[in-house]
């Protein structure tokens, strides 16, 4: 496999800086609106504000895992094989795990307040928890060492198996506990300013995801360069010690 030449440098470019600014503005708006301006919900009072964080986080987490799966497939498919896909898969999984944790925690808090329990065994929640644990395992496997190709192959296979798992887990839990509380806030119930801010939240979080993944995968690329350079240095050292 060809070694893609990588130019080391700062991980930010004009594009990511613009992206970063847009994201900060979006998050600022979300904070101001979510905490101050938006009205209390009729049923849930102030706690509904948690949803401004919870729902976008969940969306982001699933997006991240979808991207990891696709990128893994792209690496494993011989015609499109490139370590770039592996780096994207790894970066996306890390961001995904982070937002999965935020989703689970915010959802748990919201559940405690509205339904009275931190946890309920409905299929969506349990599948989410399952994915969380699976991707922690995925990240552990990425750290096992070996060449970059081995890392990519092993974790790529794991990611695809996890994707295969998701419907199985979803349906088994759904059949197991068929009676579960449905969402009490439907999209249709949000109007005007609330709906607009909700939308802003989704877009902002997506921008945040892209920004994080771009930076993280560039960092991975830099680490890989360090590994390769390290090899060159180690080679030179080894040859020198023989000469002397």
């Amino acid at each position: 496999m060809k070694r893609t030449p990588l130019r080391p440098g700062p991980t930010s470019t004009r594009f990511t800086r613009a992206l970063g600014v847009a994201t900060i503005l979006g998050l600022g708006w979300l904070a101001v609106f979510g905490l101050l301006i938006s009205p209390d919900d009729v049923l849930q009072g102030s706690y509904a504000r948690l949803l401004y964080v919870h729902v976008p986080s969940a969306w982001l987490a699933y997006l991240a895992f979808g991207v990891t799966g696709l990128a893994s497939a792209a690496y494993l498919w011989p015609r499109t094989r490139s370590l770039q896909w592996d780096r994207i898969a790894g970066a996306s999984a890390e961001v995904g795990v982070l937002f999965m944790a935020i989703t689970l925690v915010s959802g748990s808090l919201w559940g405690k307040v509205t339904w009275g329990t931190y946890w309920t065994w409905d299929s969506r929640l349990t599948t989410t928890a399952f994915l969380f644990v699976t991707y922690i395992g995925y990240l552990a496997v990425r750290d096992l060492g070996g060449s970059h190709d081995q890392r990519a192959r092993r974790s790529g296979v794991l990611a695809l198996l996890a994707l295969l798992e998701v419907p199985l887990v979803h349906f088994s839990v759904k059949w197991w506990r068929p009676l579960h509380q449905s969402e009490t806030i439907e999209r249709g119930g949000l109007k005007g300013l609330m709906l607009f801010s909700f939308f802003v939240g989704m877009v902002t979080f997506t921008l945040l995801y892209v920004w994080l993944v771009m930076h993280r995968q560039r960092l991975i690329a830099l680490n890989d360069i360090v590994d390769d350079r390290g090899l060159d240095r180690a080679l030179a050292e080894r040859r020198n010690e023989v000469e002397s």
Partner: protein, 228 residues
């Protein structure tokens, strides 16, 4: 070159012969499983509760025993570099996967029967005639599915340092649907808590799907997971 099927038969035969000679599963893992059933009784401390949850305990004990059996199955390979040698021999990895899964399934099946026996003795479980077909199907599909998953992730976790501890983390979440499905179907077969056999058959569908998905997935993926 030998066909994948011939290789699987060869590898399965070898694995079972190793177990026959060393008796590790029969002398160490089976007592461990039986011990677990006893410990559950200590922890749960109520005959009615135990009878109610017996199906779940049987499958829990089966899954934890699976972890141990899988570790053993791959320790046999890595002890004297045999897995390396299998790779050097160019033996097709799909064959290794299916062979080891087959041997694992055989050992697991015997273990599960013993666990069911323990439940009958310790938890006062009764087998209902009308539920026997469902019970047998549950056992078959769940065992096959667990064997595929165990072999796949066992292969990944085998060999290099620090990987043995990864096996439970990787395998248990993935095997969760089998735990859910097998337990529910067993409850239906035994008539526990008012479940009837008709409740159980949809779960067999799920278990069968799981087995097929991981059979195919494992056959394709095993090679890349064990290769260095």
């Amino acid at each position: 070159m030998l066909s994948v099927w011939a290789i699987s038969r060869l590898v399965a035969g070898k694995d079972l012969r190793v177990e026959w000679r060393s008796r590790v599963v029969s002398n160490q893992v089976v007592p461990f499983a039986a011990l677990m059933m006893v410990m559950f009784a200590f922890a749960l401390d109520s005959d009615t509760v135990l009878k109610r949850v017996a199906p779940g305990l049987v499958w829990l004990a089966a899954m934890f025993s699976l972890l141990v059996i899988v570790q053993r199955a791959f320790a046999v390979e890595t002890a004297d570099g045999a897995l390396d040698a299998l790779r050097v021999a160019g033996v097709r990895s799909a064959g290794i996967f299916l062979g080891k899964a087959l041997a694992l399934a055989a050992q697991l099946a015997v273990l599960e029967l013993i666990l069911l026996g323990a439940a009958i003795v310790l938890y006062n479980t009764h087998i209902v005639g009308s539920g026997i077909a469902l019970l047998v199907c549950t056992y078959l599909t769940a065992t096959v599915g667990l064997s595929f998953v165990g072999t796949l992730y066992g292969g990944l976790a085998a060999g290099a340092k620090g990987r043995e501890t990864l096996l439970p983390l990787l395998m248990l979440p993935v095997a969760a649907p089998v735990l859910i499905g097998a337990t529910r179907a067993t409850e239906a077969a035994l008539g526990t808590a008012g479940a009837t056999t008709s409740d159980g058959w949809p779960w067999i569908g799920l278990l069968a799907l799981f087995a097929v998905a991981f059979g195919v997935g494992g056959t394709l993926a095993f090679g890349s997971l064990i290769d260095e």
